[in-house]
């Protein structure tokens, strides 16, 4: 049996595939997806390729043009005009059922109503680039409800004026600024390029029409209390973030001083929480900024994630510092 690699595909096979593509290119699902309509190769064929012909799951060793179909349908019920050819040119064909291919999109990145902590959120930087990070928590102040996240997520590192729109999902995940505006920037703690920072946080007032749910996305779910628990070394923590979803980790340090690279320069943060991943999966990745870090045992907030090093380490502000600076409470 000859091995097939992309560089070793014979010219006659490539020509046969081009021919097949011309007549049976995938077109998508018809509006009325009855069996007869589905059997039309224009709709049922979801991909065309080259491979060895398979009979009962075993390779015969012969090259074939492969038609990948959403559903393999009994020949008897397919109208003659819709049957796939047995040969393309002088190359045999094969039909393989794969189902329809879809883009693999993490649930956190979707449009979500009611909005919930753990999902994608972002601002609209003035330089026009599209961004998205994580919605940390719902917080309250004077009977009003706000989105909590980082300054660099909601205020683009001090650059946006108060009142700037905030979007869910972040525009990098779905660029629909008219439809997805859910809040407006209302307060942020300035980041200092010179000097020492303690928090990277901001809040945005939720629009009256925005429906919300304070429970963090799975598997963090509902908090037992919005009152922060002090971080402690070896505490096992969890978070749900836009980029890496649900992850767990362990607190390594509770008074960590760290240099963190921002677009506006390298900033120094003091009294931070250093978290390491549990070894199976990194605790955080790009786009997880703003995630609420929660003590797995007590289900109370511990920190607000904002930075990370290699895949092993992440850095978070103490939740109590964030709430104190902003004068808000977390809604559980």
């Amino acid at each position: 049996m000859s091995k097939l690699s992309r560089n070793s595909i014979p010219g006659k096979l490539k020509a046969a595939k081009r021919n097949a593509m011309r007549y049976f290119s995938p077109r998508g699902t018809p509006a009325l997806a009855g069996l007869a309509a589905l059997s039309d190769p224009k709709h049922n064929v979801v991909g065309i390729g080259i491979g060895h012909k398979l009979v009962k799951g075993k390779s015969t060793g012969d090259h074939s043009i492969r038609f990948y179909v959403e559903r393999k349908i009994d020949k008897k019920v397919i109208p003659k005009k819709f049957r796939l050819p047995k040969r393309v040119g002088n190359v045999g064909t094969d039909v393989i059922e794969t189902g329809r291919f879809v883009v693999l999109e993490s649930p956190q990145r979707r449009r979500m109503r009611p909005v919930r902590p753990g999902c994608s959120i972002g601002c609209q930087p003035k330089d026009g680039h599209l961004m998205a990070a994580t919605f940390g928590a719902i917080v309250a102040k004077d009977r009003k409800h706000y989105v909590l996240s980082n300054n660099h997520v909601l205020a683009n590192e001090n650059k946006l004026p108060l009142g700037s729109p905030i979007f869910q999902p972040g525009l990098r995940d779905k660029n629909a600024p008219r439809k997805d505006r859910i809040a407006k920037l209302s307060h942020f703690i300035r980041l200092k390029v010179r000097g020492r920072n303690k928090v990277d946080c901001a809040i945005a007032l939720l629009a009256k029409k925005t429906r919300w749910n304070a429970a963090v996305l799975p598997r963090v779910n509902e908090l037992k209390s919005g009152d922060p628990i002090p971080a402690a070394v070896k505490m096992v923590v969890e978070k749900t973030g836009r980029a890496t979803g649900y992850t767990t980790g362990k607190i390594e340090d509770v008074s960590f001083t760290v240099k963190v690279g921002y677009a506006s320069g390298t900033l120094t943060f003091v009294d931070q929480i250093l978290i390491s991943g549990d070894g199976k999966k990194p605790f955080s990745g790009g786009g997880d900024s703003g995630s609420l870090v929660v003590d797995r045992k007590s289900k109370r907030p511990v920190g607000l994630l904002f930075g990370g090093g290699s895949s092993r380490f992440a850095v978070a502000n103490h939740a109590s510092d964030v709430l104190q600076h902003l004068g808000v409470t977390i809604v559980a």
Partner: protein, 80 residues
């Protein structure tokens, strides 16, 4: 005086001095605590013997002792 006792009272003061001396170094990411009275120096990359000796001198001169951890974080910290 045992190191643990020496550090207990002024751990934060020593840490502040270490920050001033070590954070400007391009290969140092951060300074933390490894254990109750032990510092950890987080590194951007594996360091040379000369760089390691420099850190040891700073630790000794600033009263941090010589029982500290060097941790390679595999790169600089950035926003997430």
């Amino acid at each position: 005086m045992p190191k643990a006792k020496r550090l207990r009272g002024d751990f934060e003061a020593v840490k502040r001095r270490l920050e001033v001396r070590l954070l400007p170094l391009d290969y140092v990411n951060g300074i933390g605590r490894a254990g109750s009275d032990r510092f950890s120096v987080m590194l951007v990359r594996p360091i040379t013997k000369t760089e390691s000796a420099h850190i040891r001198d700073v630790m000794q001169n600033e009263g941090a002792g010589d029982d500290y951890a060097l941790v390679d974080t595999g790169g600089p910290f950035t926003t997430r």
